[in-house]
């Protein structure tokens, strides 16, 4: 029978299945960070359990590490205790670890792929909803809660039920100016933040075949914002080339065997999907969010919606609330909206390609005097690469701050946060109320739009910055 990519990975990891479909699946890779793991390690200690497979586990501190003056340590006591707790736990349970001062440290979803820890055909989990990112390699990757983190640490398995197969088929080609961030925001706008609930999304279509791994990761990353626990893209030569000679990728004979196996993974023709959504790539424009939900999107040349035109009362109230919180007016042109902060970073858009595209726009220009702008590379290795290419100099000359890697202002657990009323063009993934700091206002944008907006001080189409 024809199978989807998801079916194949699911079946090859199935250890046990009960009559009601409750299944025990094997987990190949487990990424661990400081925020969602302390209670899990504590649980292991209390029940006298060990970590089943430390070699399949990789830990890193990323959520609340400082991006400035790292050598001084972590100022905030709670955050420091949490990171110290991880230091102790990885030591006690013998888990491979990139500590805060390791050159390979970075955002968990940047370092996994970068090290070749992430590979096609694997099941990958992490106590973080953006684990979906790794699906860009044709793996089944999803976020789990702390109880499940403890379960995976103890048993290297998870109790799950199979999700539905959903296909998002992108037909036609994207305009050159349109990025993968625009595309995923557009898709979320189309299907809504619950559009993928209960599903694993497979993205397909020619537009994806031409995309780099970095761009594909941006798409899979935000599957959770569309309600899906996992998003995946079939592996191809671009995937294999990316992984070749990565430190933890298979080597020599194993590499050849792995590639042969990886080539069997893409969905068979005629495979059955429970839901199919067609997206016409030619209709996708440069897309950003105006509101406080990732589905509240607008084209960069568009306007803030008018809630009076919406008949459903609950929806109307939500939109009214978003407009109020965001300090906008219905019908206002989005490109007239002034910002005072720009954040280029997060597991969505902090990879070398993102930093290059932003630098391209910034080159030789200055950040608007009203704007505080920062670049937070996704990992120590991304930072190093960018510095070797001289990109840090471009940013610094323009007036950007060039920071140390971490999650930073995406969720503002460290001291990088918005103040009440600040408005930020952010390359991150969530624009919820207060996400980047209490009372802060977030517009989710591509690195290109973030860069252009830093220069003009307004939400700006990069083509209008010359």
């Amino acid at each position: 029978m024809s199978k989807t990519l998801y079916d194949k990975i699911w079946q090859s990891h199935l250890i046990n299945e009960q009559d009601d479909g409750t299944s025990l699946i094997y987990i190949d890779r487990h990424l661990v960070h400081e925020v969602t793991s302390p209670q899990a390690f504590e649980g292991l200690r209390l029940s006298n359990r060990k970590v089943n497979s430390p070699k399949r586990t990789l830990a890193v501190a990323d959520h609340n590490v400082p991006t400035l003056d790292r050598e001084l340590g972590i100022k905030e006591e709670d955050s420091r205790i949490q990171v110290e707790e991880l230091d102790k736990n990885v030591e006690e349970f013998q888990i491979p670890y990139f500590n805060m001062n390791d050159s390979r440290q970075g955002i968990v979803h940047v370092i996994g792929p970068e090290q070749g820890f992430t590979q096609p055909g694997m099941t990958i989990v992490c106590g973080d909803s953006h684990t979906a990112t790794h699906g860009a390699f044709g793996s089944l990757a999803f976020g789990i809660g702390t109880s499940e983190v403890e379960h995976v640490l103890a048993t290297q398995t998870l109790i799950q039920k199979k999700a539905m197969n959903m296909l998002i088929n992108i037909t036609g080609n994207l305009d050159k100016i349109v990025t993968s961030k625009d595309l995923i925001l557009y898709i979320i706008g189309k299907i809504g933040t619950a559009g993928g609930t209960g599903c694993v999304i497979e993205y397909s279509g020619n537009a994806l075949r031409d995309m780099s791994m970095e761009s594909r990761m941006t798409i899979c990353n935000m599957s959770i914002e569309a309600g899906a626990r996992a998003g995946m893209i079939a592996p191809d030569d671009i995937t294999f080339n990316y992984l070749y000679e990565k430190p933890m990728a298979p080597k020599n004979e194993d590499w050849d065997k792995a590639v042969n196996w990886w080539k069997t993974l893409p969905s068979d023709s005629g495979a059955k999907f429970d839901k199919i959504v067609d997206i016409d790539a030619t209709k996708v424009t440069q897309t950003i969010t105006w509101g406080t939900s990732p589905e509240e999107i607008v084209s960069i040349d568009g306007t803030v919606p008018n809630p009076d035109k919406i008949s459903d009362e609950v929806k109307q109230n939500k939109i009214k609330r978003s407009i109020e919180y965001m300090g906008l007016t219905p019908g206002q042109k989005i490109s007239d909206v002034e910002i005072n902060t720009v954040f280029i970073g997060s597991c969505t858009n902090s990879r070398i390609e993102d930093i290059r595209s932003a630098a391209e726009i910034i080159k030789g220009k200055k950040v608007s005097t009203n704007v505080k702008a920062l670049v937070v590379p996704g990992s120590g290795l991304v930072k190093k690469q960018a510095e070797e290419e001289g990109l840090d100099v471009i940013f610094k000359h323009a007036g950007f701050e060039w920071r140390e890697p971490g999650c930073s202002m995406c969720l503002a657990m460290n001291s990088d946060k918005l103040n009440e009323g600040d408005r930020c063009a952010s390359t991150s993934n969530r624009n919820f109320e207060g996400r980047q700091g209490k009372g802060g206002r977030t517009h989710l944008v591509s690195p290109e739009i973030a860069a252009a907006s830093a220069i003009t001080g307004k939400l700006t189409d990069p083509r209008n910055v010359t």
Partner: protein, 201 residues
């Protein structure tokens, strides 16, 4: 885990769309290394004013809802991050059951692991329960997991569906890890065959 017994409790009307986990428990409270003590911070930004005092307009600050055990929630409750701090905080506040038309997957999963029951009902059923909850004089609803039944203040009953395995785990207070360890031999032989076939994994 504590066993989930039939209980009668105050239901709060909480008809907001897409309540995300940042809203349930904002990031400044995620630095804890414990599972307990988050109840006072649940819905922090809606619940407290800038000066730290309670916002009287927020439903869970109003009597009798400050003693709620049940939320009648809007669509897509619990969307966003995987933080288990969300069910921990709700549970610590006293919430034992959330009723809505839909939940985000990870939140839904995390709830069961913490003895918090998410129940899915139809749109009409939710509307009826919202009306029940709005009656401040008598907002008590009974939740009977064993019989998969919500009993309304007017004596009406609403049946709900639930995965049999999850139901059993809640009713008996079973520990997932202990259950999985019963499959130890199967896991070992799976690992061995996998290592032979795909040694790089």
């Amino acid at each position: 885990m504590e066993k989930f017994n039939t209980f009668k409790g105050i239901a709060a009307p909480f008809n907001i769309l897409n309540v995300d986990t940042d809203k349930i428990i904002p990031k400044q409270f995620l630095t804890t290394i414990k599972r307990t003590g988050l109840g006072k911070h649940v819905f922090d930004e809606m619940r407290y004013k800038k000066d730290g005092s309670e916002n009287p307009n927020f439903v869970l600050n109003q009597k009798p809802y400050d003693k709620s055990n049940i939320l009648i929630a809007g669509d897509n409750f619990g969307c966003g991050s995987s933080r288990e701090h969300a069910p921990w905080a709700l549970k610590d506040f006293g919430i034992k059951c959330i009723i809505s038309t839909s939940f985000a997957d990870i939140f839904y999963n995390n709830s069961f692991k913490n003895g918090l029951l998410p129940i899915m009902v139809t749109k009409d059923e939710r509307v009826a329960l919202l009306e029940d909850a709005k009656d401040k004089e008598n907002p008590e609803i009974e939740i009977d997991l064993e019989n998969q039944e919500i009993r309304r203040p007017n004596g009406g009953k609403i049946k709900f569906k639930i995965d049999p395995f999850r139901k059993k785990c809640l009713l008996e207070g079973l520990d997932d890890i202990g259950l999985t360890e019963l499959h130890e031999n199967k896991i070992k032989s799976f690992e061995e065959s996998r290592s032979t076939k795909h040694p790089w994994l």
